[in-house]
């Protein structure tokens, strides 16, 4: 096949303009493939970091106990209700946390106490969901530190972090005090030490973050927690990991996909779109190479006839044209991948994606895959012209 390679190379260099056009055509297809890979991959990364990336992948949540049944009468049931302990509690959770933390799939664990509350600042009142976080784990699940626009995300006793939108509603500024009243009727005066802006109405207007110790006081929960949020290295492993955590701890663990099916569906649909676009780019490459080589086959029929007359086998002729296809694939693939990489360089890296810009992820360009598929596609595309060349009748061809 060494000699077939020489002839194939000579044919390509003999028609430099035609070869250049063909290689550029293939390179454009490869560029599109890489561009789409980087865009679809980057977009998925961006969406995930803005949604599932900031949420718990597996959640252990205390189940509210059914109220005790005191007595039943015909048409009437009498239930016991303890108004002082509305919040459901995981009493032994903190002892089980080390078991979860050592699991290789687990990235971070955040014990939380959650509940409802009212924020009062003078005459202004706002209803909020209160989340008590352990100091040092403020950004374990939601990257609070990354969303801070004023102050910092460090929680300690007596401080509160609010969304900037909520602070504006209440006329609050950094360093000012606000009264938080829990659903259990317990008041705490807290100092605003940080304002964040996630960009979503709910968290920015209706959430308040305090330290776990502050939350214990507010919700009268001296030992346990309301929930444990767990972040995994691979969020798609949540369905497999959740039952294992449940078996390990005996606590009900729920994967994010239970309530995030729509997000998963949207991401899958987006990935499918990417596959379609990339497939069409590959089809374009195959058609381009096949048509150019078919034309070359027709143009070189007399030469093919001479080769056959000189004792070149049909396999050799096939080899010449398949090698041409492979060379075009390699050159077009490398050129397209190189240009694709250079074109993606100006885009910000995945860690610095900003809203309003194209989230192109240069690391997801799938360069190797693009080159490999292009070479395979070009070889497949050359098989039809090569077979056609091998069938050339030397007598007829030489007579042309």
């Amino acid at each position: 096949m060494l000699y077939a390679l020489k002839i194939a190379s000579r044919y390509l260099t003999a028609s430099k303009a035609q070869t250049a056009l063909l290689v550029v055509g293939v390179a454009v297809g490869v560029f599109l493939f890489i561009f789409m890979s980087a865009l679809i991959g980057g977009l998925a990364e961006f969406i995930m970091s803005r949604t599932a990336g900031d949420m718990s992948h597996v959640t252990i949540e205390a189940q509210a106990e059914d109220p005790g049944q005191i007595a039943t009468f015909p048409g009437l049931v009498l239930l016991a209700h303890d108004a002082s302990s509305d919040a459901a509690e995981l009493r032994e959770a903190l002892n089980l946390m080390p078991l979860i933390e050592v699991m290789p799939e687990v990235l971070a664990v955040s014990p939380q106490i959650t509940g409802a509350g009212l924020l009062r600042r003078g005459t202004r009142v706002a209803q909020v969901s209160v989340v008590g976080l352990e100091p040092g784990r403020e950004s374990a699940i939601l990257n609070l530190a990354g969303y801070m626009v004023e102050g910092d995300a460090q929680l300690r006793s007596g401080v509160i972090l609010l969304g900037r939108a909520l602070a504006l509603e209440l006329g609050l500024e950094l360093g000012q005090s606000v009264v938080l009243q829990s659903q259990d009727g317990i008041d705490a005066t807290l100092t605003v030490t940080g304002l964040y802006q996630i960009g979503q109405g709910g968290p920015d207007r209706r959430m308040a973050y305090v330290s776990l110790s502050t939350a214990r006081t507010l919700f009268a929960m001296p030992q346990g927690v309301s929930r444990i949020e767990i972040k995994l290295h691979d969020l798609y492993a949540a369905d497999a990991v959740a039952p294992r955590i449940e078996a390990l701890t005996g606590l009900p663990a729920e994967s994010w996909t239970v309530n995030g099916a729509q997000l998963l569906e949207a991401l899958n649909a987006q990935a499918q779109t990417g596959y379609f676009l990339k497939t069409f780019a590959m089809i374009t490459i195959v058609i381009g190479v096949a048509s150019a080589l078919l034309l070359s086959t027709y143009r070189r029929r007399p030469e093919i006839g001479i080769m056959r007359a000189m004792g070149a086998s049909r396999l050799f002729v096939v080899g010449v044209f398949v090698t041409q296809g492979a060379l075009i694939g390699v050159m077009g693939g490398l050129l397209g991948a190189g240009v694709g990489y250079l074109a993606l360089l100006p885009f910000p890296p995945r860690d610095a994606f900003r809203s309003g810009t194209l989230p192109m992820d240069i690391t997801q360009g799938a360069y190797g895959l693009a080159i490999t598929l292009t070479v395979i596609g070009a070889i497949l595309a050359s098989i039809l012209p090569a077979r056609s060349a091998a069938r050339v009748d030397p007598v007829t061809a030489i007579g042309q």
Partner: protein, 224 residues
């Protein structure tokens, strides 16, 4: 000692009303080392005979034997290899590969056989071109050579694998008188020195006169 024998060779083209019988039971024997001219009017079947003898086409019926090998029943792959090793071709319009140099064209049959251009093949190719008076044109692109030079390159190519038989179809038909005689002189020299058998199809009786044997084909059979 015979090199090849064809017996009762028949070749028809088309079928039914359009059937044309070009060879009608042709018999021919060529001796080793013979230099023969194939004469006959247009349409007499000369080119068809050369094509069949060159294993580029199967006869409709009849026997075709060369070097003791029955070529009528051989597969396409076997014929391809046989052709590469034992038969050389010279065409009227030289039919060189235009994107290759003179030497690359000459070396082609050996490179096909070896799978690459060996140093030995290049050396023999250069020797052949030198014998053809083309020592200065070895690395010239074949497209830049004159008609006579191209035809001499084609002769050198036909001799590359030292074949037992060289089939030449009007090798001088496209050349001026001086070039034609020069080519024929070279062919005669190779025939005398290497004992290569030549069968040369020609319309030119002066060219035919340079050959030791004249075979006349008429109406699909050897008529003289």
């Amino acid at each position: 000692m015979s090199l090849l024998t064809v017996t009762n060779l028949v070749k028809t083209f088309g079928s039914g009303d359009t059937e044309t019988r070009v060879l009608r039971g042709l018999d021919l024997t060529l001796e080793k080392g013979q230099m023969a001219a194939l004469l006959g009017p247009s349409g007499s079947g000369k080119s068809t005979l050369l094509t069949i003898l060159g294993t580029l086409m199967h006869p409709t019926s009849g026997g075709h034997d060369m070097l003791g090998v029955d070529l009528t029943t051989a597969s396409d792959a076997a014929l391809t290899t046989f052709r590469n090793l034992h038969i050389g071709f010279v065409f009227q319009f030289h039919n060189l590969l235009p994107d290759f140099t003179a030497l690359e064209n000459v070396v082609f049959p050996a490179a096909i056989r070896e799978g690459r251009e060996t140093a030995a093949a290049r050396s023999r190719g250069a020797d052949l071109l030198t014998r053809m008076g083309l020592a200065e044109r070895i690395d010239f692109p074949s497209a830049n050579l004159s008609g006579g030079q191209k035809q001499r390159v084609a002769v050198a190519r036909a001799l590359m694998n030292a074949p037992e038989l060289v089939l030449a179809d009007e090798p001088t038909g496209n050349l001026d008188r001086a070039s034609a005689l020069q080519v024929m002189e070279l062919i005669g020299q190779i025939n005398r020195e290497e004992g290569t058998t030549f069968l040369i199809s020609t319309h030119d009786e002066k060219i035919a006169a340079t050959c030791a044997r004249q075979i006349v084909v008429g109406d699909g059979v050897v008529s003289g």
